[in-house]
Homo-oligomer: 169 residues x 2
DNA sequence: CGGCCACGTTCACGGCCACGTAACAGAGAC
DNA sequence: GTCTCTGTTACGTGGCCGTGAACGTGGCCG
């Protein structure tokens, strides 16, 4: 994801828009304007005209932050806490095991059989139990920006939701 | 937590030290030096001499980031005083020991067994005593911006109540 | 086309258990 | 005495998890 340059205060609405999208941005603040306080970690600013090297340093800083905070690889800790971007939800035992299977092949399809095996190592209950648990898992992870997609007759796959970071609440 | 000013490149080692402590810092970069790429989100820089207003904006930005992302870690002194952001409450012996256990793994899950051991080193009373003490602890720490979350059948975890999030929206 | 089936989604229910909360009582400090 | 700290009993509530059933949708076949 690349850093976008925004002239300030001329492109004020553009800044809001980009912020909502989670797009890293560098505000080029004109001499006559006051510097705005950054809305989030993905924003930085610099006064123009500026040294080209300084601009590059700011852009590189933003790029690194964006990498660190949008790593967007969820993490399931041993206590059943699923973390993503500083947010977390706790998963009950069965759902934690299902999530473990999905995470091992993050972004790829995991078959129902595989999931059933992971969720119930010593034999699965009724055929429908898996469906219900997938539904519950879906609802639980939605608020932290994760989604499970169905691939008909193949299985399920886990994804991050691109822009829904702030929209969830 | 306050922002510390560091002259760059003169106080190079000091920067490392502060970074290791998780201390927010603003580097004052001299005209002759190249700007360093920030090591983490708690660092920013500005060229000096600079406009005083610009410096304040950078400091305020760092302060917000530090509030939102670097979980402020509360401090429990030996007398049972729990401090956070200048506020404090006093904790009775049992609750102080429980809080100690939670603080050792701040932000992570601590099991009920672990808590029972910490709270009553020479054997726990009834099973329910822990529940009641967690309730009392919760009520006591709420006013200073701390919260204990339950992770069902796994344990409890201690968090700071994020004021930045509420303020942001 | 109509009917049937396979597959998936969603809801409602009940049993079980973990946890939360109030109320009470004794011990001790001040 | 009054207040705080502590532990106990009793009860309510809500989460977890499996089941059954209703519903939707797309594919296949006669």
């Amino acid at each position: 994801m690349d850093v976008v340059l925004v002239r300030w205060p001329h492109e004020r609405e553009r800044r809001e828009l980009l912020a909502a999208e989670g797009q890293p941005r560098l505000l080029l603040v004109e001499a006559s304007a006051e510097a705005p306080i950054p809305e989030d970690v993905l924003e930085d600013w610099i006064r123009v005209p500026a040294d080209e090297g300084d601009v590059q340093v700011r852009i590189e800083g933003l790029r690194r932050r964006s990498g660190a905070f949008n790593a967007r690889v969820p993490d399931l800790d041993p206590d059943g806490l699923l973390r993503l971007d500083g947010q977390w939800v706790s998963l009950p035992p069965v759902e934690a095991r299902l999530m473990g299977a999905l995470l091992e092949r993050f972004g790829a399809v995991v078959s129902r059989e595989q999931l059933a095996k992971s969720g119930w190592p010593r034999g699965a209950p009724g055929r429908n139990a898996l469906d219900v648990h997938m539904l519950r898992l879906r609802r639980r992870i939605d608020p932290i920006g994760l989604a499970i997609k169905t691939v008909r007759s193949r299985g399920y796959l886990l994804e991050t939701v691109s822009t829904a970071v702030a929209a969830g609440s």
